[in-house]
């Protein structure tokens, strides 16, 4: 009987806890927290724009970050693009053959890769590889007081750490996306030739016959926004981390999750904007 009473009491406590989760006070606290974060993120972004255009400029650190972001992501982006081009071609062939449109295969794969798949996959790879790295690096610098040390010696850590990284990623993601486009076409060419015999010249002429400026230009433009989103989110998460070593892991994790989600949101908006002009 005593045991039953204890169980009932525990259930009652649990029910109270659950009920308090939906109380007005709890919701208002959550809303306050959410808008507080929106406020700090907005201030962080505005500070980036203010400091990005004010001298002194950290050219050496910017170039170093371009190298780290670009060069070190190149093999992964390249390999992924090659496989994507190859697999997409092999998967599309049966359907197109069924409709007698096999000759459309290179152009269809190229348009899909250049307009959508390559930019998004490249950005997601960068969010995973570079975004998590920056989130963890800056959070670790914050936890071990390295950022504070830069600040007290009058060395503008925001400019040195945040501005350079965000600018480097914003510039390098589009370049990586262009590289990814080219490699995915190579993958597609290999895919086409696995079950046929098409020359490179014919393959390329099929592509450029159907490919328009409107297929390429908006796709490149949106990658700048992808890069900026990855940079600013991961830097924000790392720079403002403050819960010890646990915060380092959380900064890396949330950088990837939030940057990836933002990439999809930007992509959706970019399609709407591009459709408006076509």
């Amino acid at each position: 009987m005593k045991k039953d009473a204890t169980v009932l009491e525990e259930n009652g406590e649990e029910a109270k806890k659950q009920a308090s989760k939906f109380s007005i006070a709890y919701l208002s606290e959550r809303l306050d927290d959410f808008f507080g974060q929106v406020d700090t993120f907005t201030r962080f972004t505005l500070r980036f724009f203010k400091e990005a255009f004010m001298p002194p400029y950290e050219v050496n650190e910017f170039l170093k970050q371009c190298y780290l972001v670009g060069n070190k992501s190149l093999p992964l982006v390249g390999l992924t693009a090659l496989i994507m081009g190859l697999v997409f071609t092999m998967q599309s062939r049966p359907t197109l053959t069924k409709f007698g449109a096999q000759s459309w295969l290179p152009a269809m794969v190229a348009i899909a890769m250049i307009r959508e798949i390559s930019p998004v996959i490249t950005a997601l790879i960068c969010a995973g590889k570079v975004g998590s790295g920056i989130g963890a690096e800056l959070a670790s610098m914050r936890v071990t007081e390295q950022i504070d040390a830069m600040e007290v010696s009058g060395n503008r850590p925001f400019k040195y750490l945040v501005v350079t990284r965000v600018m480097a990623i914003t510039l390098m993601v589009p370049l990586l996306a262009i590289f990814s486009d080219s490699i995915s076409l190579l993958g597609s060419f290999i895919g086409v030739n696995l079950q046929g015999d098409t020359t490179a010249k014919l393959f390329l002429s099929h592509i450029f016959e159907k490919l328009d400026f409107i297929d390429v230009f908006p796709a490149i433009i949106k990658t700048f926004f992808f890069g900026f989103a990855i940079g600013i989110i991961s830097c924000y998460k790392g720079y403002n981390s403050n819960s010890g070593t646990e915060g380092v892991g959380r900064a890396a994790n949330t950088s990837v999750v939030q940057a990836s989600l933002t990439i999809f949101i930007i992509d959706m908006l970019a399609v709407q904007v591009a459709n408006f002009f076509t």
């Binding site: 670790s140 610098m141 071990t144 007081e145 600040e151 009058g154 060395n155």
Partner: protein, 254 residues
């Protein structure tokens, strides 16, 4: 109590003046009412239990933490009223040695020491000379091209000290310079603090739990408890204190 002894020093000679400083975190008052003065060429040691706001106090001085109330003057400037550029100029005159030394992990020892000099317009040869001199001061010239991860705790502290000194600050704030070090290294670091103070004529605030460090370095000691200054005096005066709390800092444990 905090101001009584400090008022003895002449106002012209005061490098740092703090009046009625208060700081709370989420309703918890860490600094309730702290006032102190640091005279030119003086080593002021601040002692107290963990969590009594010693580190918060020196972080407030350089505005790494914004105080809730009070006034902080460094070299005659009210730091709480300075804008970002003016604050940066004042910060360049202050050295800060962090508890963990806070060396930049991704840079070599040389790059760590060169970093604070980035905005100083000097020739490469001059910068190299300054780096080498700073390393000679702490006796670690041979590790110039090593990464911080290759250094021991004591070496990291020494390199941190060399980096702090490279801009030739007028004031140095030490946040527990001996934490995590063995008694021999603790004594060496404490002696180094005194040597460098005499060589460069700096004034310092040293946060420590270690009575040996206090004995070697302090011209004056201030003891903080629960956000208030509870005792102030020389090492000899406080060592003989009849107050149980004060004397507990100077009692050797078996």
């Amino acid at each position: 109590m905090g101001t009584a002894a400090a008022e003895k020093s002449s106002p012209e000679g005061d490098i740092i003046t703090i009046d009625h400083l208060k700081k709370s975190f989420g309703g918890h008052e860490v600094l309730k009412d702290i006032s102190l003065k640091l005279a030119k060429g003086e080593n002021l040691v601040i002692m107290g239990k963990s969590g009594t706001g010693k580190s918060v106090l020196i972080k407030c001085i350089v505005r790494l933490i914004e105080p809730d109330a009070g006034e902080i003057k460094i070299l005659g400037k009210d730091v709480l009223k300075l804008n970002a550029d003016e604050l940066n100029d004042v910060r360049k005159k202050i050295g800060f040695l962090f508890q963990s030394a806070a060396l930049y992990d991704s840079m070599t020892v040389r790059e760590n020491l060169e970093f604070p000099l980035r905005e100083v317009r000097k020739k490469n040869e001059e910068i190299e000379q300054m780096v080498e001199e700073a390393l000679k001061n702490v006796g670690l010239l041979d590790v110039i091209d090593k990464m911080p991860s290759e250094l021991s705790g004591g070496m990291r502290k020494r390199i941190g000290l060399a980096r702090t000194l490279i801009l030739r600050p007028e004031v140095i704030l030490y946040d527990e310079p001996n934490t995590g070090l063995d008694p021999i290294t603790t004594r060496e670091i404490s002696k180094l603090i005194v040597e460098l103070k005499d060589k460069y004529q700096t004034s310092s605030i040293i946060i420590t739990h270690d009575s040996e460090c206090a004995r070697i370095t302090a011209n004056r000691i201030m003891i903080i408890n629960e956000g208030l200054c509870v005792a102030e005096g020389t090492y000899e005066e406080l060592e003989k204190s009849e107050d149980e709390f004060v004397s507990s800092f100077f009692t050797k444990q078996d």
